[in-house]
Amino acid sequence: MLSTVQAFFRQRAGMFFVLLAILFGFMGASEHYGFALFFLTDALGMFYLAVIWTCYTILCCHFINNLWTQPEYAFIYQTRIWPDHLRLGRYFLMALAFLQPILFYSFYLGDIARQDKLLHKIWPIFIFYILLSLTITLLAEWRIRNPQMFSSRTKSTTVWPFPRPVSWIYWSIEWLVREKGLTVLCCKTGAIGVVVCTLIYYQTDDYDIRLPAIGFSLAYLLNIGLSFEHFFWENGIWLWNRSLPVSASSRFSRIVLIHALLLMPETLIGLRYQVVSVSELTQLYGLGLASVLLFHACLYKNSRSLEDTLKPVLSGFFILTLLILYKVPVWGIAGAGLMGSYYVFTRYYSSTHIRPW
């Protein structure tokens, strides 16, 4: 059951990422509030909400229906031998996991309803939630009772309308989105969340750049999972690329560009909020880029598991916080970080053993 839910969020990571970009990038807090009030107070508000949620549930059902026809999911039909109550109970839990986005939005609606004293209007969402969960549960049960272990789909739906660019940078990001979609989603959600919280807090009083510098650094450092996956791509999946005639400085430039693109979504959201100036945001972006690049370069010095890197990252963040608090210019820290990461990379790229995966 868990593998089905994971596969859904991994394969649909791109869709969720676009949704997050729309919800947090283009829509502000007042628009969110306006939509919530509409759902709660308009005569057809709850109907529209039900339609949107039903569409999402149909998407989940379609996914389960297709996934369980794949040969590698043939094992799922073994669940037919579980007792009925156990099987249906687990399908129900799986349905709840699929409907997590609905659950989280329900919390938000509940909070708005409490704040505006509209709690008496919220009861339909409980019924929707139960009905939609049961829909997914019954669909799963139907699929198990009607096994199909072949896919009738003959053509891939993910064919791009243009030829794939012959570009290392494009391939690297494509691999991250395709194969590590869940990591992309988690990292971006976390980073966007921290950026938004920082900017909201920044507006509450007259702070200087040091507050967003600490907040944004933390947000950007939440991308180390992505940076680590990129390291794995370069040195595990694509070890052979090290035999290609590309200089260490060109390789470093590629790494900088890939990281610069990866850190762009939360930066654009920071720009959209118009709380910090463009020049300040540029410094914050440079600082974040330098921090993540330094982490990435250090992987070449001493490749290890992601868990083992957390302690040095926390220590590094503590030191960075002290530097910021002691009014060392943000652009200065960013510049030093970029130069340091270039030095570490070129020093260790061709001399240190990479841990075999």
């Binding site: 194969e179 070890l239 052979w240 090290r242 035999s243 005639p245 590309v246 200089s247």
Partner: protein, 212 residues
């Protein structure tokens, strides 16, 4: 000397795999033998610059792997024994990319695709057979203008037509001055290839077993 190795030491997960004090080869076709796990692929990967190692490796008497990494790599190509490429890419993507990186001359790419019979050029690697992936890795090894081509177990999984095309390519490139290092558990002299010398990789070093 085309390729010269001095004091090469290679470790894999803390375990020493190679310790070659001195090894030099001139133009020719060299057969590198060794039992499974002897370190042939590790040697080839070290020579290709994929795995950092201690010691010096010099190509054509002037390009040091560490001091001149780009010209060195331009002059030495590796075809891996069990190539692994990203499943979402196609042979066309990869061949174009490597052809550009290795400054492949016009027409070379199409000639290799045709002669090795790479038919599913637009199909992703994830849906290619192991033989097709192997053919692509062989095509990549012949791209550009290398002085040395290393072929690690080039005969596994490929069909008879590709095998014959491969030997024709080796002969043709060898006549143009390219040196080959070939590892294979199957003999290939019956295909008309004149092996210059045979080396056995044993006890972490290369031991000459036969030669002209």
């Amino acid at each position: 000397m085309v390729l010269e190795v001095q004091h090469l030491k290679q470790y894999y997960a803390g375990h020493q795999v190679l310790e070659i004090d001195s090894w030099k080869i001139d133009h020719g076709i060299y057969w590198i033998q060794g039992e499974n796990g002897a370190g042939k692929s590790t040697l080839f990967r070290s020579l290709a610059g994929m795995l950092p190692c201690s010691g010096t490796i010099t190509l054509n008497g002037k390009y040091d792997l560490k001091a001149q990494p780009v010209p060195y790599r331009l002059g030495l190509n590796l075809g891996e024994a069990e190539p692994l490429y990203p499943a979402f890419l196609t042979p066309a993507d990869l061949i174009s990319f490597v052809a550009r990186a290795r400054s492949s001359p016009d027409g070379q790419r199409d000639m290799l695709i045709e002669s090795l019979g790479i038919n599913y050029i637009k199909q992703t690697f994830g849906s290619c057979s192991s033989g097709m992936v192997k053919k692509v890795s062989l095509a990549l090894a012949f791209l550009g203008n290398p002085s040395v081509i290393i072929l690690d177990e080039p005969l596994i999984t490929i069909d008879m037509e590709a095998r014959q095309a491969l030997f024709l390519l080796i002969k043709s490139y060898h006549e143009k001055g390219v040196t080959f290092l070939i590892s294979s558990h199957q003999p290939f002299q019956q295909e008309g290839l004149q092996v210059t010398e045979t080396y056995l990789l044993k006890n972490k070093t290369l031991i000459k077993t036969s030669g002209q």
